[in-house]
């Protein structure tokens, strides 16, 4: 068993109200470390065995057509060690 991770984030130019809400909630709770916050999605895909290059290509495709919307989002595919 292995885990492939797909991370999907809004493009930098797209408004991120969720990230903004977190960024403004942090100082209210006394946390002052953040300059800004962006919020995105993380998919953990469990597959049977170590992924083959073909499988990874398939995941890339799925990330592009289903898991993200290229109009507003970008994605990264990683194999979790």
């Amino acid at each position: 068993m292995a885990t492939i991770v797909v991370e999907v984030m809004l493009k930098p130019e797209i408004l991120d109200p969720q990230g903004n809400a977190v960024a403004s909630a942090l100082p209210r709770l006394g946390f002052t470390f953040a300059q800004s916050v962006r919020q995105g999605k993380r998919f953990e895909i469990i597959i049977e065995a170590e992924p083959t290059p073909e499988q990874l290509a398939e995941v890339e495709k799925a990330a592009e057509v289903l898991l993200s919307n290229p109009v507003i989002e970008t994605y990264v595919v990683r194999v979790e060690k």
Binding site: Q18, L66, V71
Partner: protein, 222 residues
């Protein structure tokens, strides 16, 4: 005049949309997401709701329903298609319309009576209105903020494809107060607020939403 109303798993406003079609003088025809033909309809409505729970992104999973292949083909040939709320989201995900609908800027689901201005009356779905006509119909969604890149926005504006705009304070962060847009040909329209809930003052804020459902009759007569 047969107007198909598609039900995806999780669609909610299908019966309301069908009722509105009938109120407007058309004949509503129920279509199911798994259908393999469009039952000879003259136009199609993708109603509001939470198809597939709105999981992943609103409309992202419905876009791949079997019936959508047919809708996309028919739309490209000029069949009038109206997407309301979740239906608008499906149309964007299907790339029949540009842009995307994202979380409301205040992060809350918002249900309220919203005044909008009709800014294009040449589409299949807005011909019953006058340009500049102001109507009040319900707005109800959690992800109704229309977003696109600057270039797309400029194109939509210069081609007059913004068909309705919010009046007053921006309810959800939509760019340029956009409430609805059309494709270049004017047969495909996406609208965030819900005209099907404004066909009778008894159950809605007004009857001013009816125009969308009478427009389509004009479109066919022509």
């Amino acid at each position: 005049m047969r107007v198909g109303v598609i039900t995806f798993p999780g669609t909610l406003d299908d019966r309301d949309a069908a009722r509105a079609v009938n109120f407007g003088g058309g004949e509503s025809v129920a279509l199911w997401h798994a259908d393999a033909d469009l039952k000879n309809v003259d136009a199609v409505i993708l109603p509001g709701g939470f198809s597939y729970g709105d999981y992943l992104r609103c409309g992202a999973i419905s876009r791949f329903a079997p019936v959508m292949k047919l809708v996309i083909e028919a739309a490209e040939k000029g069949m009038p298609v109206l997407g309301i709320c979740n239906g608008f989201q499906v149309l964007c995900e299907s790339h029949l319309l540009p842009g995307a609908l994202t979380r409301n800027s205040d992060l809350h689901f918002l249900c309220r009576d919203q005044e909008i201005e009709i800014t294009n009356n040449t589409t299949a779905w807005t011909s019953s209105f006058a340009i500049g006509e102001k109507i009040t119909i319900p707005l109800k969604n959690g992800e109704g903020s229309f977003q696109c890149d600057d270039q797309t926005l400029a194109a939509l504006e210069s081609e007059g494809r913004v068909i309705a705009r919010y009046i007053g304070e921006n309810p959800n962060g939509s760019r340029n107060l956009i409430a609805g847009i059309s494709n270049a040909r004017g047969n495909v329209v996406g609208l965030m607020p819900h005209p099907e809930h404004a066909i009778d003052p008894l159950t809605g804020p007004s009857a001013q939403g009816l125009g969308f459902f009478t427009s389509i009759l004009n479109a066919m007569v022509k």
